[in-house]
């Protein structure tokens, strides 16, 4: 049983593409006895609550093909066992049956800071932006994540089962993000990808938090210089020195190591760039250094459709209702629709809020996009399968398919109507919310 736990832990922490093994080894060894006790407890728990489940729904949005009318989803343990129409799928005996008007995959927030940024909004619960230096890509999300943060549970009650959370916008390189489930007992339970991305920001916003850079051009120059250093570092040392058994050079530089990983394409760079010149700066940096780029925010992306298509980069779009203020002054509720028509892969995020609402809700943000040019399926895709693709976790989540994680949301109507409720939420096959909200 202990072995099984460690294997699973490795799978979670050291992500599937061998990105970075940043999790310190002592974490694994830490209080083995306690872990065993927890596992024992959970084994019992699982046998009760991971019972076989069937969900019957008027409409199942699988996100892989057409929606299924009068559909059935079967859950076995933590995974989806089968999905199809009521005619195709016989519900085996002993399955607990749940009914819903609409079932969707668990919602995926492609970019948030919840868990680092907390509900109270005082200094003790705001860890999303370190202001001691404008370039600190080495800051790890899981070192600051408070998994008991109230807003996580709040998001869960509104159908968010997975999120890409971590360091926020505001610094040239503010730190790393990670992909986590919103329900679980330990960090080990919830992490899908411990180092999903590194968060960068370009534009005037950076100069609001830092004396240097004072202008956007200086910001780009500083990043280029740092990336050049990382290129040298990579040449001399290789990126992942932690796993290098024949290490002859004892000096490791966490910052350059992280940037080297970006240069090697092991970790994508998430660039928060809302104004058109900053979007172009990010694309230029990508062309110069050849890293994996994801555009974030992208309020003025509708001005640069051809350039974005040519760069072939996905967009994690700002929330639809983000304030038309500052960097997002020229925001439009129709941008999602424009990106969709142009075939640009995009997701809709909750983003970062410095005040109220302390977090936005992707279900509501996608609803506004649905009302302004996206179809229901397209809007749902932006907070399920397309988000999963951008986060590179679409092998596990984002659609209702046999073999994928049984993360499901049950609604009492059209998910995007204001008066529809999220009534039940399943995470890893377990019913974790059971009240219409």
């Amino acid at each position: 049983m202990k072995m099984k736990f460690v294997v699973q832990l490795k799978k979670n922490i050291f992500s599937k593409k061998d990105k970075l093994s940043f999790q310190p080894k002592r974490k694994i060894l830490f209080s083995t006895a306690a872990k065993t006790a927890i596992i024992f407890f959970f084994t019992g728990f699982i046998s009760l609550h991971h019972a076989q489940t069937a969900i019957k729904a008027d409409t199942v949005f699988t996100m892989t093909g057409k929606k299924i009318v009068n559909g059935v989803v079967l859950i076995k343990g933590k995974k989806i066992e089968a999905v199809g129409s009521a005619g195709e799928i016989q519900i085996p005996e002993g399955y607990t049956i749940h009914q819903a008007k609409v079932v969707t995959p668990g919602l995926i927030d492609a970019h948030t800071v919840v868990g680092l940024s907390g509900i109270y909004n005082y200094s003790h619960d705001q860890d999303q932006l370190e202001k001691s230096d404008p370039i600190q890509p080495e800051l790890r999300a899981f070192d600051a994540y408070n998994m008991r943060e109230k807003l996580i549970d709040y998001l869960l009650s509104l159908g968010v089962t997975t999120m890409n959370t971590g360091h926020g916008p505001g610094a040239l390189a503010s730190g790393q993000t990670m992909v986590v489930k919103t329900y679980g007992e330990t960090l080990h339970d919830v992490i899908l990808d411990s180092v999903a991305m590194v968060a960068f920001t370009l534009g005037n916003e950076v100069s609001y938090y830092f004396k240097k850079p004072g202008t956007r051009a200086k910001g780009v120059a500083m990043l280029r210089q740092e990336l050049l250093k990382a290129r040298d570092y990579l040449r001399k040392n290789g990126s992942n020195k932690e796993n290098d058994k024949d290490d002859k050079n004892p000096s490791r530089d966490l910052k350059l190591e992280t940037l080297a990983n970006i240069l090697e394409g092991k970790v994508p760079a998430l660039f928060t760039v809302n104004e058109a010149p900053d979007i172009m700066s990010a694309i230029r940096l990508q062309q110069e250094f050849g890293f994996k780029l994801i555009l974030d925010g992208a309020a003025e992306s509708y001005l640069l459709i051809d350039e974005i298509k040519k760069a072939g980069v996905p967009v994690i779009l700002h929330p639809s209702m983000v304030r038309n203020y500052g960097e997002t002054k020229n925001v439009s509720v129709e941008t999602a629709s424009v990106l969709n028509k142009e075939g640009i892969l995009f997701a809709i995020q909750s983003g970062y809020e410095g005040y109220v609402p302390k977090t936005r809700i992707i279900l509501f943000e996608a609803a506004i996009a649905n009302a302004n040019g996206l179809s229901i399926e397209e809007a749902l895709a932006s907070i399920t399968i397309n988000a999963a693709k951008i986060l590179d976790v679409d092998d596990r989540i984002g659609s209702i398919e046999a073999g994928k994680d049984a993360d499901l949301v049950l609604f009492d109507g059209n998910p995007f109507e204001y008066t529809t409720h999220v009534c039940k939420v399943f995470v890893n096959g377990q019913l974790v919310k059971n009240e219409c909200f």
Binding site: G118, K150, R323, Y325, V356
Partner: protein, 437 residues
């Protein structure tokens, strides 16, 4: 008496004007589902307006459309009274002077840009009347102003009051809780000190009022003119309504205690924890203008914010309105706030009233606006569908018989959707991080 004279004078001028000048042709809007708010919904209704006023409203078979009327076919559409936002910061007026925690003499109308694009944003959201307030970083930040969002070059053209200098053109903004608690005197450092400052100020105003009464019209015995005291006497006389920002349950009770001690008319604003003390608010007979925020928190006193507030207050028998607090929420999504009230159990009737007639009552303007009744101002909006649907758009906004927003016109539509350089200026009120304003 004074109040009556001030209303009668402009009314008589209007009456005269109507006699002297030829009447405009009537406009008849037919075919829509009309929610008069003051009565039952009317299927296939007819609304006739002329000379800025509503002439008649009723069923198609009961109302005769005059031959001279311009007929607008609104079949399949929904008509509501122009929406009333009881608490907003549009108009780019900076209010709340940092020199003192109490500024009863400061008028926000002296700081508003009548040509601000933020008014167009409000029209795109169906808002026709708004209570623009100075901020809430103060115990008493100043005089609010009630504005009709007519196309205007100067502020006089937007007012409800006839006399910009001596009329009562709005309410008095007050706030308690943490916003005004700062560590620099004369600002208070605690809640109890906040109350002491306010009580002392009102006691002074009571004495000033007594002197005026004792003078009994004798100019030589009148106290020296004092702008602060004059405004507060209006409050004590019940002529100027106090609009009181308050979140926590005990802070709500503090407002009720002050209103009871000094006998002023008060509307509670935000009322975040109102659901905890609904019976006490009901007993005091005080109306509530509430806010809907997508998620709780952002500051400690707002962590218990809930969608259910409207529903709980309604069930307790309290008069409930919603407000935008724009830029906290966006004027364009005002109806959405009430929809979330319905989501959490509010009746559809009360939720519609909460963005129309209830707001009118809270501003003391329900004799002129808030419902579709003969003789009231011809302020109405045409919606594409059910008011509480995600997919419904405000298609047209009419003020006093004039169309001021038309979504089918691209020049107007852009204020609903946003886009490149649609909104000029700084639409955000200065102090967005200073507290739910």
């Amino acid at each position: 008496m004074i109040l009556k004279r001030k209303i009668l004078l402009p009314l008589s001028i209007l009456f005269l004007a109507a006699q002297l000048f030829p009447q405009t042709n009537p406009i008849a809007v037919k075919g829509a589902l009309i929610y008069p708010i003051s009565g039952e919904p009317i299927n296939n209704g007819v609304l006739i307006v002329q000379d800025k006023k509503i002439v008649s409203v009723g069923k198609a078979d009961e109302i005769e459309i005059p031959n001279s009327a311009e007929v607008i076919d609104a079949s399949g559409k929904v008509i509501l009274p122009g929406l009333i936002d009881t608490h907003s910061h549009i108009g780019e007026g900076s209010g709340g002077d940092a020199s003192s925690p109490t500024n009863p003499e400061v008028r926000i109308l002296d700081a508003i840009d009548p040509m601000s694009d933020s008014f167009k944003k409000a029209l795109a959201g169906g808002i026709t009347t708004v209570n623009v307030m100075p901020g809430s970083g103060h115990l008493m930040s100043g005089q609010t102003v009630y504005l009709k969002l007519r196309k205007a070059k100067i502020i006089n053209e937007m007012l409800f009051c006839g006399d910009i200098q001596n009329g009562i053109c709005g309410g008095m903004k007050m706030a308690n809780g943490t916003n005004s608690i700062r560590n620099n005197p004369p600002f208070p450092g605690t809640r109890a000190k906040s109350v002491a400052i306010i009580r002392q100020l009102f006691i002074k105003a009571q004495e000033y009022k007594k002197k005026i009464e004792e003078a009994a019209g004798d100019e030589s015995k009148m106290p020296k003119r004092d702008l602060e005291m004059e405004a507060l006497v209006q409050v004590l006389n019940g002529e100027r309504i106090v609009h009181h920002h308050t979140h926590r349950a005990d802070d709500i009770m503090t407002v009720l205690r002050l209103a009871d001690e000094f006998g002023f008319k008060v509307v509670l604003h935000h009322v975040t924890e109102g659901w905890k003390v609904a019976d006490e608010i009901a007993k005091a007979g005080v109306p509530c203008s509430i806010i809907m925020i997508d998620s709780p928190g952002g500051k400690y006193e707002a962590i218990n914010l809930a969608y259910k507030t409207g529903s709980v207050l309604e069930k307790a028998g309290i008069d409930v309105a919603y407000h935008t607090d724009d830029g906290i929420t966006d004027s364009r999504f005002f109806i959405r706030s009430a929809a979330f009230g319905v989501r959490a159990g509010m009746s559809r009737e009360k939720a519609l009233e909460a963005i129309t007639l209830a707001g009118a009552r809270m501003l003391g303007l329900d004799d002129r606006i808030g419902s579709l009744e003969k003789g009231k101002d011809a302020d109405f909006i045409i919606l594409s569908g059910d008011p509480f649907s995600d997919y419904t758009k405000v298609e047209q906004t009419w003020i006093e018989g004039e169309k001021v927003f038309d979504r089918s016109n691209p020049e107007d539509k852009k204020f609903a959707t946003g886009g490149y350089e649609v909104f000029r200026g700084d639409l955000q009120h200065a102090d967005i991080c200073g507290g739910l304003e």
